[in-house]
Subunit: 162 residues, 2 copies
C-alpha cells in the first residue's frame, strides 16, 4: 500500500453547449499546444469534479450499471467518473487549434460544460489503436469503432438515467 | 484560470522485470477489479513520479524531441511523462486477472518498475478505437496499430537516449 498523495491542477476547461465543444487552455499552458495541429484526435484527461467526494471516491463496485451486464461491476471495469481517482479519459476529434488563444475546437467531448481539464495528449495509432480487440460477451454488441459511437443507442445500455 | 488543486492517490503499483509485467492493485481497491476479466486490453493511468518536480512540471515545450520532427514541440503534443500534470496513459494487453490477490498480468507496459498506478479502465473499441486517424507528416511513418509497435525502431525516432 502506498498512502502518498499527489496533486494535480487544471490546465484548462471544457466549454460545451449548443452543439459546440471547445477546450480552453489557460494562458501559462498555451505554449504546450505547439505541434499538436495535424493530429486528427486528442486524448483529454479531465477531472470528475462532480464526483470528487469521499463517498464517490470510496465506491469500488456499482450495482447493475449495464442493462445487459452482470449484477455487480467493479469501478475499474466501468468508464464512470465515479472511481477512487476521478480522472476520466475522452478521445476527441480535432476541428481546429488556435495556440495563441488556447482554444481547441473539437467535434464532441463527453464532459460537462465547466469540467476541469488536466491534460491533453496526441492520439497515436501506435499506442491507442488496437487491431485485435476483445470484450466480455455482455458488451460485444457495442460499437467496434469510435466513429460508430454516435449512432448507437447508449441510453438502452445503462440502468442509470440522467 | 483555475488555481485549484486536486489530490490523487495510488491504487496500485507497476512491477516490471525479467520480461514479466504485472500491476499489483492494493487491498482496498481489489473489489474494483470485478468484471474486468474478458476485456482484452486495459488503459492504465500512472504517475510519472520521476518527473514530479517543479522544474519538469513547469516545462511547456521540448527542444527537438523527435529526430524527424519540428525544432520545438509543446508537451501536449508529446507522450513524455514530463508535463504539468505527470499522468501518463498506457494501453496494456491483459494476460490474466486475479481479483483476490489484485494481480493483473499484462503482456507489456511502458512504465518503470515501482511506478504508482492511479487508475485502471477497460479499453473499449467504441471509445478508443479510431478508424480514420490522421497524424502530422513527420510522424506518418509510425505504426498504425498498437500491435505493430513492438517491431518498430522507436530508438531511431527520439533524440533523447536513456
Amino acid at each position: 500500500m502506498d498512502t502518498r498523495t499527489f496533486t494535480v491542477t487544471p490546465v484548462g476547461i471544457v466549454r460545451a453547449g449548443n452543439e459546440s465543444f471547445t477546450i480552453e487552455v489557460f494562458g501559462p499552458f498555451r505554449p504546450a499546444l505547439r505541434g499538436l495541429s495535424g493530429f486528427g484526435h486528442i486524448l483529454v484527461l479531465w477531472w470528475g469534479d462532480r464526483v470528487d467526494t469521499p463517498e464517490c471516491r470510496g465506491e469500488t463496485v456499482c450495482r447493475k450499471p449495464y442493462t445487459k451486464g452482470p449484477e455487480t461491476v467493479g469501478v475499474f471495469a466501468t468508464r464512470s467518473p465515479v472511481r477512487p481517482n476521478p480522472v476520466a479519459l475522452s478521445v476527441a476529434p480535432v476541428i481546429g487549434i488556435d495556440t495563441a488563444s488556447g482554444i481547441i475546437r473539437v467535434a464532441y467531448i463527453d464532459a460537462d460544460d465547466g469540467t476541469p481539464v488536466l491534460d491533453i495528449k496526441p492520439y497515436l495509432p501506435a499506442t491507442e489503436r488496437v487491431r485485435d480487440v476483445s470484450v466480455p460477451v455482455w458488451s460485444s454488441h457495442w460499437p467496434q469503432w469510435y466513429e460508430d459511437n454516435a449512432g448507437f443507442d447508449w441510453a438502452a445500455e445503462f440502468t442509470f438515467k440522467e
